[in-house]
């Protein structure tokens, strides 16, 4: 038996495999495919203080080895989550994170306060990196002072695991990571989607209603891996890595680059059992390489 437990700041996960926000619904969408309780954690959909309808259709374009999305944080609001969805998640034996977003610092704070009261939610992932909304979202995550400010205010009211999700659409992601670490973030997760666009040459029109959108999938993996490596070297808090992970080998690359845990996003759409396959693949790798504790892989890159 290999030891798969990892520590994320204040919290222990039973294994390093999590699912990424906006790609795993509330978990329930995947019950038919595998036992969701097997994985280390799930991050539910981006949640805001009030109901949001999101952007207009079309919101998705397939791109080489990836996709662009412009969903724009469609959700029914945090109170709906707390009253209607949270009760259905109580039986899940995995760490459930709520991905929190807002247009103003006050909205982030109020949403985090409400989630702080939910006993079975051990952490939030503070989304300061959504590229698909006009106000808030990524604008908080692209400068050190604004990233620091929103983390500072949320930290005052939020008592559990505070993971901050970083945007890759910056010049120095390590600087942003250091800024949020200084204000009390327990961990950082990265990367959110890379800003991109797609055009139909025949019609001369953009393929997304919003013109630009967020790129995900294997196309972003080399960029994500580089950023995880840089951030892991800069900060002391745990780093959660994601971006284009499709297989166990991809996941192990992120661990070696310094990630304490990983998230699987776009891969869930193509193979809804991807998280368990990655988990089983990590175990097989550990047996093959005679590694007893998965933590021995974290940052074990040999240069």
């Amino acid at each position: 038996m290999v030891d798969l437990k990892v520590n994320l700041g204040t919290l222990q996960l039973k294994n390093p495999v999590m699912t990424a926000s906006g790609t795993f619904g509330y978990g329930t969408e995947y019950y038919d495919f595998f036992d969701v309780s097997r994985i280390g954690g799930i991050v539910v959909k981006g949640t805001t203080l009030r109901d949001r309808q999101g952007n207009k259709y079309p919101r998705m374009a397939e791109t080489p080895s990836g996709m662009l999305n412009a969903v724009g944080l469609q959700n029914k609001g945090v109170n709906y989550f707390a009253e209607k969805i949270y009760p259905t998640l109580l039986d899940l034996d995995t760490s459930i994170f709520v991905n929190v977003s807002g247009s103003t610092v006050e909205e982030y704070v109020e949403t985090a306060e409400i989630i702080n009261e939910l006993d079975h939610i051990p952490g939030i992932e503070l989304n300061i990196s959504c590229p698909n909304v006009k106000e808030g979202g990524m604008t908080f995550g692209t400068s050190c002072p604004s990233a620091a400010q929103v983390v500072k205010e949320v930290r005052r009211v939020y008592k559990k695991e505070l993971m901050v999700k970083l945007s890759p659409n910056v010049t120095s992601i390590s600087d942003i990571a250091l800024a949020v670490e200084a204000e009390g973030a327990d961990s950082v997760s990265l990367i959110n989607t890379l800003l991109g666009m797609a055009i139909d040459s025949e019609t001369r029109k953009p393929l997304l209603s919003t013109v630009t959108g967020g790129l995900s999938g294997p196309a972003v993996k080399p960029v994500a891996l580089r950023m995880v490596w840089q951030v892991a070297q800069a900060v002391k808090i745990p780093v959660v890595g994601m971006g284009g992970i499709m297989t166990a080998a991809d996941a192990i690359e992120f661990l070696l680059a310094g990630a304490a845990a990983i998230q699987i996003g776009t891969a869930n759409f193509i193979d809804p059992t991807a998280p368990v396959k990655v988990l089983e693949g990590i175990e097989a790798y550990m047996l093959r390489h005679k590694i007893n504790r998965v933590t021995d892989l974290i940052g074990a890159l040999e240069i």
Binding site: G22, T23, F24, G25, E29, Y30, D32, F33, K45, Q53, G54, K56, Y57, P58, R59, M60, A61, E62, T63, P64, S65, G66, M67, N69, V71, Q74, G217, T266, N268, F269, I270, D271, P272, T273
Partner: protein, 256 residues
Amino acid sequence: MKKFMSDLIVTENTPLNDQYFLLKLKAENELPVIMPGQFAEVKVEDSPSTFLRRPISINYVDRNRNEIWLLIQIVGPGTLQLSKLRPGKLLNLIYPLGNSFTYPVRKDANLLLVGGGVGIAPMLFWGAQLAAEGFHCNFLIGGRSQSNLLLLDEFKKYGEVYCTTEDGSSGEKGFVIHHSLLQNQKFDAIYTCGPTPMMKAVAGYAADNAVFCEVSLENTMACGFGACLCCVTDTTDGHVCVCTEGPVFNITKLKW
């Protein structure tokens, strides 16, 4: 309804013309319950530019042979690759997905099923189920020319078949919405799938004549099972996912 991800075996792949082909797939275990209007998300192997699965309607379910049929039009690399699949190959499907058409209330209802282009795909299974339940169906099928009117012999098993072609090579000349049937008969329910302008015209006819009408939408999708929120359409309840709340919608719900 429980969703499955499984490998099915290609038993037949028949070209119907230069653009369309019919794929028959056999399941190893007994096929799950599948409702008319539902679709599958098909994994396309050996097509490097096809990253996501492709949503394809269930064209027919053959319970005797434990087979499902997919009627597919070649429009890009993914569907082109599927057209090359030879019998014996495995195809990975996530299915059955989405909601289904609504049965009429009265057994003597006069029903019209309208399909244009590849939109005829779900109408065959729906017509077959309606006929099995004792309903009488009229099929109105539109295509560019005679060679685009497909599976007519199959449709004839389950009801009356009427056609239009844009070049007049078969049936009445013009679009489905101009067919004399729509002037000559009164319908109790209309079901339609096809290009959006066609569905909008049929929905307009139904609304003008106060006829119950359901349309099947084909929004682009990333997952097909409610996880990504990419496939939304605007309804009286706001943005809803076509892959879970649809693909079949009553026209009174849509903000067209």
